[in-house]
Amino acid sequence: MADRVRPGRLQRREARAAYIFIAPWIIGFLVFTAGPMVASLWLSFTDYSLVEPGHPVGMANYQQLLDDPRVGKSLANTFTYAAMFVPLGTVVALGLAMLLHRVGRAAGFFRTVFYLPVMTPAVAAGAMFLLLLNGQRGLLNQVLGWFGVTGPNWTTDPAWLKPSLAIVSLWTVGGSIIIYLAALNNVPRQLYEAALLDGAGPIRRFWSITLPMISGALFFTIITHTIAAMQMFDQAYTMFYGPQQKATASDESLVYMVYLFQNAFEFFKMGFASAMAWVLFLIILVITVVQVRLGNRFVYYEGDSPR
């Protein structure tokens, strides 16, 4: 591992070869990431609209972010959706992973079952769930009916649009289940044995052993799910937006990315949309930094892990 590079000609040759290998990424980074980032920042201070060249408008776009009530609304919707899905998805996935951890060989079968929905394209899942969640005749409300519960109009009642988005996302939580199951399998058995000898009950064992030992995987999925939830688009757009719904769509289902997309590619307000994108970036950055800070306090990394 720790071989020192020989100095001189050979070292230079090695370095040159190295840059040849990473050249594609450097080019891609400059053309598709760094350049566009600068351009996007510049656009956010203009009124660029594809048909007309952009004029600098100072802070006007950012001022409009504050003035346009739909920006705030869409941001609030996105937060609400994330606040529903991320904790719920984590708990459900962890619960199912813990069940699978206990069933021995059958776990293989269930892993397949739980992962299968992830393969469904978001548009397909959205279209399916429009019917499954139908207020009058949908399957979910029919099942709820068996238990004497009258289900809401999931797809039309403004109050239930975000929960129905969360339900669709919950259906595709299989990836986390697999990740948690792998993490649970890596917890050394001796820890449980020792805890048992010390008389720790199942709840105590969960909080003192299981949770700390898989905290790395939990942390990873919570961060990635939060970032993904903030950028939710496909399902929301499939279920609640389209050419026909412009007039009727309730703002309760307007998530941030949908509004951003509409501004950029339906209203061609690209300067304004760029400003929206930068605000989203900053929000995600802040959330992630906070999560990483919190994570450093709670996540337990095994010092001499055999991985």
């Binding site: 071989d3 070869a17 290998f21 990473i22 594609p24 990424w25 450097i26 891609g28 980074f29 053309v31 598709f32 990431t33 350049g35 566009p36 980032m37 996007s40 656009l43 699978l100 206990r102 069933v103 021995g104 892993r111 992962y115 299968l116 929905p117 393969m119 469904t120 394209p121 978001a122 548009v123 399916m128 429009l130 019917l131 499954l132 259906w171 990836g175 990740i179 792998a182 399998n185 890596n186 058995r189 048992l196 790395g216 995987a217 990873f220 970032i227 950028q231 496909d234 389209g242 026909q244 719904q245 990315m257 951003l260 997309f261 950029a264 994108a277 989203l280 970036f281 950055l285 991985r307």
Partner: protein, 310 residues
């Protein structure tokens, strides 16, 4: 890959703890499991049964709904009262579905092949060589994973607009030629697992750097290549945002974009043919189910690897 789980010796299990005592140990045979089926285990299997139904039923329901006549789509029967196979014929009238499937296949294959080889190439650069800027540059690779696509979305659109490639499928895969941060990270982890002596020996035998990559790194990391390939295949197949942005002509649509069009179309005309929409949904989903059926273990392995390195 995974740490072997050892069963607890039975003597250490206090009988006062039925929950743990009921745990079917991985190495124990079925007979032993059955003997230990306590209330905890019954509850566990019951919960798993409910979860299994919740996760699979929508897909089974989809197959069933796509075969029903219009009036029965919402009857939620598992087996259709009347099988209307013609739905799958009528799907072709709702849009050029075969064309969309073909487009999706081409786009996702191009995207997957491009990203697999470019990411592996770049990852090898970061894994094998030691050079001054390696640390900072690799940090930059990881940092780009945090960047929301929305920030670069508009300028990247303008680039393709300048190149006159709007309403072609090129923008859907071409940027994959330059590697993708997450896959570079993943492939690098795999390359780092190859013993360095292997490369050194090949170098002494006169193997070029490209040879190291092609003859040693790639063959040894075939599973990793497959993992990257199928993950990108699935991601690209499912994507809606890019086709929405870049494609205008119906002929060029990918399957998800086409499916969205079909659903919207029925909504526009006011006459919902959900049975046709569901048949189209099934058509859009089925190829991925087939991919999963064949590559299941790579999907699961890939996720487990991600978790370990997260």
């Amino acid at each position: 890959m995974s740490v072997e789980t050892r069963p607890l010796p039975p003597s250490t299990e206090p009988p006062a703890d039925p929950d743990l005592a009921a745990r079917p140990l991985p190495t124990s045979g079925p007979a032993r499991d059955r003997r230990r089926l306590g209330p905890g285990a019954v509850l566990r299997w019951l919960l798993l049964l409910v979860a299994t139904i919740a996760f699979t039923y929508p897909l089974i329901w989809l197959v069933s709904a796509s075969l029903k006549p219009k009036s029965q789509v919402f009857d939620n029967r598992l087996v259709p009262e009347t099988f209307q196979w013609s739905n799958f014929v009528q799907v072709w009238d709702a849009g050029p579905v075969l064309r969309w499937l073909f487009n999706s296949g081409v786009v996702s294959l191009m995207a997957a092949v491009a990203v697999t080889f470019s990411s592996a190439f770049v990852a090898f650069g970061f894994a094998y060589f030691r050079f001054r800027l390696r640390g900072p540059l690799f940090g930059l690779v990881l940092a780009t994973m945090m960047l929301p696509g929305a920030v670069t979305m508009i300028p990247v659109y303008l680039i393709w607009h300048q190149l006159g490639l709007i309403d072609t499928q090129v923008p859907l895969w071409a940027n994959n030629l330059f590697g993708s941060a997450f896959y570079i990270f993943l492939m690098r982890q795999f390359f780092l697992g190859i013993p360095r002596e292997l490369f050194e020996a090949a170098r002494i035998d006169g193997c070029s750097h490209l040879g190291l990559f092609r003859r040693i790194a790639l063959p040894l990391c075939r599973p990793a290549l497959i993992i990257v390939f199928i993950f990108e295949l699935q991601a690209s197949w499912s994507d809606l945002l890019k086709p929405l942005i870049y494609l205008q002509t119906e002929e060029y649509f990918t399957m998800p974009r086409g499916l969205k069009q079909i659903v919207d179309g029925f909504a526009l005309s006011g006459e919902y043919h959900w049975e046709i929409a569901m048949a189209a949904t099934l058509v859009a989903t089925l190829p991925m189910i087939v991919v999963f059926a064949f590559c299941q273990r790579y999907f699961l392995e890939g996720l487990a690897t991600t978790a370990r390195q997260g």
